[in-house]
């Protein structure tokens, strides 16, 4: 009974958190892990910490000159 009430709330909260994280350039880690498992089975998967660092460096374009914000 309780589950049916909280499940949609949980889903919305999760979506808000995912939106907030992507706003600052960090995509969904679970989706990354799922993708690596399904498409590249047996290959190494970055830990969350490594994933975070990789995305952070990429967003601010260490050496890529990426434009990710506007005036």
């Amino acid at each position: 009974m309780r589950k049916t009430v909280t499940a949609p709330m949980f889903k919305i909260a999760r979506r808000i958190i995912r939106t907030a994280r992507l706003m600052v350039g960090i995509p969904d880690y679970d989706a990354y892990v799922a993708h690596r498992r399904n498409v590249h089975p047996g290959e190494p998967i970055m830990s969350y910490e490594a994933f975070f660092r990789e995305r952070q460096a990429s967003r601010y374009g260490e050496g890529s000159g990426k434009i990710n914000r506007c005036c």
Partner: protein, 684 residues
């Protein structure tokens, strides 16, 4: 047919409500109207535009295909390319396009009244800005997520690509200068604001260390810690401003602040990103979104009246905030919010690599721009709910209104906006500042307007000073983030451009190349910033039109590219969708550029201004604000620099128009589709 009926009724109701609201906004003269009509007119127009015009573009012009795989699906790596839910991606895209621009432009344009700016914000977004974002996003999605520069190169040729890139670099430099100037104007001689803004640096570094070493990657935790510290420094800032020993430590002139910002820009852009840039980006992004939501709620709760007339006499070009008449300068002053060329870079950046279905390009490309236009409408509301006397006191340069409440009240009342010195003193006291005079640049006006609205919703007069400094902090925070990130981008572009002649310079790992390119970038925007700070007309007057011209020029280039693509797809019957706004922007930017260079009015034309000062120099007299012969020489020199830069921007537009015309004629001669789209890969 029966199922269509409710939807038809709803859309008819939206259309009627929109028409009524627009009618009230456009036809009211003399009596004050409520902000809700402005808001309703905008929202109804956006809904109709999305339902009918964007749908038409999606189906007929772009022929978006739900069965065609997107780059995110084809190259999914869980990192750059990952199919993302459309609401999540909408947030990402909106956060990337919404910056300080849509907040500043409408505030400046409010000197002509609320009507001209509002109409341009709505029509510009619907027919130009959102169209550009949507079509560029779709074009990039059909080209493996390529960038604007790469698309120009492949569709228009390498030379056109290089010219466009030089244009982007110029925009970058002017943008950084003008945004830095907005911060300087807000912080000068304001210990409270300067203290809170400077505290963002140690707070960000602390967050950076926390998120790197103590709890790696915990964005939520570090942002909450940062936010709490930020609020503490905001509250403590009031004591700093009141304390006779602490206040002088944070009390600086514009010149001093601009030097500090230049030094800051240099240091911040060579530090590792995790230390300062990234954590402050988290704070500024979340604060920005939160403040936009808060302002929208505030406007709906308070429902303020608009005190500015619908149209003021300054449409003739004699206004104190920016010089030049309604056409073309209104369309230059309000760039972001109606159309922003910068969005073409964002729409061909990270977003196209994450789209999970082509058809979602509509809600993300077109929809996010409508949302940004709405943010600009809110800025217009915030500026026009102020008493016009206070608005002009905030936005007029000292050269016109003097530096005392008495001289300002006399000058502004003389323009027909009655205000007393006491009102100006009280307004400054309300927001906890010594003076509100000549705080040009838009941010302080928006902050006073927001403080009025938000304090009416929460806290009353007692919290007004707090809301004011909160608004200044929020704007300064994301402008500083842009300066830091923008200097890095400019550095990269400079390395790339010089690297075509001197190959070793391209190596982004090379420290010497990095330092040299950073120094060039910082000197570039620092030069214009300093020039703006010492400018007697307040700098914004000169720099903002330059920024507007460059931003609209980029939009014109993006729309020309879109037009060429449509011709190459053999869909020339729909080319007006992009050709019409491109032509309008071309006419506006070229007219504005022409007037900025050749107008005989020294307040508008750079050359006339240079002549005036050169003439005085020849007669050995010193014109204010110059204090010495050296100042006089510098002013003349700056005028020539500005005139050259403007001419360069005009030349870029003309060159791109030439390249586009050539490509269009080739496409018309060729019976086949020649656009370089990827071959469609259908979903199984």
């Amino acid at each position: 047919m029966m199922t269509n009926l409710p939807s038809k009724l709803v859309w008819t109701a939206v259309a009627v409500l929109g028409a009524v609201a627009l009618g009230i906004v456009a036809l009211s003269r003399g009596e004050t109207i409520n902000a809700i009509w402005l808001v309703m007119a905008a929202i109804c127009s956006y809904l109709l535009a999305d339902r009918f015009y964007a749908r038409f573009i999606a189906h007929k012009v772009l022929r978006l295909d739900a069965n065609r795989l997107t780059p995110a699906q084809r190259f999914n790596d869980g990192l750059d390319y990952c199919p993302t839910d459309k609401t999540v991606l909408f947030g990402h895209h909106f956060a990337a396009i919404a910056g300080a621009g849509p907040l500043v432009g409408p505030v400046l344009a409010a000197q002509m009244g609320y009507l001209p700016g509002t109409l341009w914000l709505i029509a510009g977004a619907v027919f130009a800005g959102a169209v550009q974002d949507f079509i560029l996003l779709s074009a990039s999605v059909r080209r493996d997520g390529r960038s604007l520069g790469e698309m120009i190169r492949s569709e228009l040729g390498n030379i056109a690509g290089t010219i466009a890139m030089i244009g982007v670099l110029i925009i970058m430099v002017i943008l950084l200068a003008v945004l830095a100037l907005v911060v300087v104007k807000a912080l000068s001689h304001s210990p409270w604001a300067t203290f809170t803004v400077s505290m963002t640096i140690p707070i960000a570094i602390l967050m950076g260390i926390y998120g790197r070493f103590i709890r790696p990657g915990r964005i939520g935790e570090m942002s909450l810690i940062g936010f709490a510290l930020l609020m503490l420094s905001l509250i403590f800032g009031r004591h700093v401003a009141a304390d006779t020993t602490l206040a002088p430590l944070f009390d600086y002139s514009g010149e001093a602040l601009s030097m500090m910002l230049i030094a800051y820009g240099f240091v911040a852009s060579v530090l590792p990103v995790w230390a300062l840039l990234a954590p402050r980006d988290y704070l500024s992004t979340f604060l920005k979104i939160g403040t936009i939501v808060g302002l929208a709620l505030g406007i709906f709760v308070v429902l303020p009246d608009l005190k500015m007339p619908a149209v003021t006499k300054f449409v003739d070009g004699s206004g104190p905030v920016f010089s030049g008449s309604l056409f073309p300068f209104l369309f230059i002053t309000i760039a972001c919010g109606a159309i922003s060329g910068f969005h073409a870079l964002i729409s061909s950046g990270t977003t196209p690599k994450m789209l999970d279905n082509e058809v979602n390009a509509r809600v993300i490309g077109y929809g996010a721009m409508l949302m940004e236009s709405f943010v600009a409408i809110m800025a217009m509301v915030a500026a026009t709910t102020l008493e016009p006397g206070i608005y002009f006191a905030l936005n007029s340069p000292a050269a016109l209104i003097g530096t005392s409440p008495d001289s300002a009240a006399a000058a502004i009342s003389g323009w027909g906006f009655t205000v007393t010195p006491d009102v100006l003193k009280q307004a400054a006291a309300d927001v906890g500042e010594a003076t509100i005079l000549s705080r040009t640049g838009g941010a302080p006006t928006l902050a006073v307007g927001m403080a009025e609205i938000l304090s009416n919703a929460i806290g009353g007069k007692a919290l007004m000073a707090f809301w004011y400094h909160f608004a200044i902090l929020f704007e300064a925070l994301f402008i500083l983030t842009t300066i830091d990130a923008g200097t890095r981008v400019a550095r990269f572009m400079i390395q790339d451009l010089i690297g075509t002649a001197v190959p070793w310079f391209k190596a982004t790992k090379s420290w010497s190349a990095n330092i040299v390119a950073t120094a060039i970038a910082v000197t570039g925007w620092g030069y214009f910033l300093y020039q703006g700070v010492v400018d007697p007309l307040g700098g914004i007057n000169t720099l903002w039109p330059l920024f507007g011209i460059s931003n609209q020029m980029l939009a014109c280039i993006a729309l020309l590219l879109a037009t060429v693509v449509l011709f190459k797809l053999k869909r020339e019957r729909y080319a007006w969708v992009t050709l019409a706004p491109a032509t309008w922007l071309g006419v506006c930017t070229l007219t504005a550029a022409w007037q900025k260079i050749f107008s005989e009015n020294p307040a508008v034309g750079f050359l006339a201004h240079a002549d005036k000062f050169a003439g005085a120099l020849a007669a050995n007299t010193i014109l204010p604000p110059a204090k010495s012969i050296a100042d006089m020489h510098r002013i003349v020199f700056n005028d020539y620099v500005n005139a050259t830069l403007t001419a360069l921007l005009g030349a870029v537009v003309l060159a791109m128009a030439g390249f586009s015309l050539r490509a269009i004629l080739h496409a018309l001669d060729n019976p086949h589709v020649t656009a370089r789209e990827n071959a469609p890969v259908p979903a199984e």
